[in-house]
């Protein structure tokens, strides 16, 4: 099973009700010359790329922007429309007074199956004890957390909140909580490798192509910044395929990964096997 664990469905037609909301979403999330498209295109793109499931990520920055530009309910709506293809995550602005209530509703009522947090955008330190109740709630519900890690293309984002080492406290304090450090923590790729090497509950996704084409960028990351055997011999169980769509086409990120000289077994884990464990989809 091939799973893309990092998709922002900002332009999926069923959740693009009007121009005002789309403009707000573009402004907050840093997208520009993009426009809504029907789910039929998503289905065709998945078929072309050979991808079975997408993990859809919302974004709640209510205290900064007045609303969730990509809400939990919008994600739940999409999952209800395509339950075989989509896995929905929740988001919550941790500065909201009702953050825990929102997450309880997301996991118990909206049946969302993970949490996406964006420390750089939502402006919090991941190891701030104020965050611990949120992590405890996720652990209680046995849902994983994807953290934005490293550089973000979104406006008004701060690298200081997203260094991989800031997640070490969480990995130690909540060993049962599955964590994904998104974007391989770029530019701190080696630091991210250290964290996912050491902590069994921490993964990292490939939702990054900050320069060049995916083939060139992944060669630089996986074969030069990392030693060429690091993934094959040490990290094969910890890397998750993520595309960061709509910034990058899933087919192209997948093709970039498939160009790497990993064994078939390792590639299978990266493209889906590890995601099954991270998402808790094991039978």
């Amino acid at each position: 099973m091939i799973i893309d664990v990092h998709v922002h469905p900002a332009f999926y037609n069923p959740i693009c009700p009007d121009a005002e909301r789309i403009t707000k979403r573009k402004t907050v999330m840093g997208y520009d010359l993009m426009s809504p498209f029907p789910l039929d295109i998503v289905r065709k793109q998945m078929r072309f790329a050979g991808i079975d499931k997408l993990v859809l990520l919302p974004e709640d920055t209510t205290t900064l922007d007045g609303e969730a530009v990509l809400s939990n309910e919008e994600i739940a709506t999409l999952v209800r429309m395509e339950p075989e293809r989509f896995i929905g995550f929740a988001s919550v602005d941790p500065h909201r007074d009702d953050a825990l209530d929102i997450l309880e509703h997301a996991f118990s009522v909206q049946h969302l199956r993970g949490l996406k947090l964006h420390p750089s955008k939502q402006q919090f330190y991941p190891n701030d004890p104020k965050m611990f109740p949120i992590y405890e709630l996720c652990a209680r519900h046995n849902v994983p957390i994807t953290f934005h890690c490293g550089l973000s293309w979104q406006p008004d984002t701060y690298l200081k909140y997203a260094h991989p080492y800031l997640f070490e406290d969480i990995a130690i304090r909540y060993p049962q909580l599955r964590i994904n450090l998104a974007h391989l923590g770029f530019p701190w790729v080696v630091e991210t490798a250290a964290i996912i090497l050491k902590y069994p509950n921490v993964y990292a996704d490939t939702a990054c192509c900050y320069m060049d084409c995916p083939e060139q960028f992944f060669e630089q990351l996986f074969l030069r910044q990392m030693g060429p055997l690091w993934v094959e011999h040490n990290l094969a169980d910890k890397i998750l395929f993520g595309s960061n769509n709509p910034r990058f086409r899933p087919a192209r990120i997948k093709r970039g990964l498939e160009s790497l000289p990993f064994s078939e077994e390792t590639m299978g884990k990266i493209l889906g096997g590890n995601a099954v464990k991270f998402l808790g989809l094991e039978a």
């Binding site: 997208y31 520009d32 010359l33 498209f37 295109i41 793109q45 072309f48 320069m211």
Partner: protein, 142 residues
């Protein structure tokens, strides 16, 4: 007189030749113009309009030859972050293939029939799929 029709096609692959000859004939059949010119223009920069013989072997040769001329992997300057999109330019080959294909074709219209040669078909050439594509058909005449 001028008549303008827009059609939309959704590609299913990154490279795809989508035959639109029947769409052009349908536009002509629904038109009051019987003599003049038909212009078929694609509204994109990573797709093109081609006229060629509709044979699977030729379609394969077109794909292979364009791939040789414009390989998928090369040090394209376009492959960098574009703030105007909020994305990496990942489709340089599509832009360059589109330039080679051209964005339009023109077909004479005589007595209500598009004057295509026996072997000629018109293709919407997709170089950056999967996407929804718009083709404009404009008929000028009387």
């Amino acid at each position: 007189m001028v008549e303008f029709i827009k059609i939309q096609k959704c590609s299913e692959k990154e490279f795809e030749l989508i035959k639109i000859t029947d769409d052009i004939r349908a536009a002509v059949n629904g038109s009051k113009i019987k003599n003049g010119m038909i212009f078929v223009v694609v509204a994109h920069t990573t797709a093109g309009i081609m006229v060629n013989e509709s044979l699977p072997c030729l379609e394969k040769d077109i794909e292979t030859s364009l791939e040789e001329l414009v390989p998928l992997h090369k040090n394209y300057a376009h492959s960098h972050f574009l703030p105007s999109y909020g994305a990496i330019g990942g489709n340089a080959p599509g832009h360059l293939k589109s330039m080679l294909a051209g964005n339009h074709c023109a077909i004479p219209l005589i007595d209500g029939k598009p004057m295509l040669g026996m072997a000629q078909d018109v293709y919407l050439a997709e170089f950056d799929g999967v996407q929804m594509r718009t083709v404009m058909i404009e008929i000028l005449g009387e």
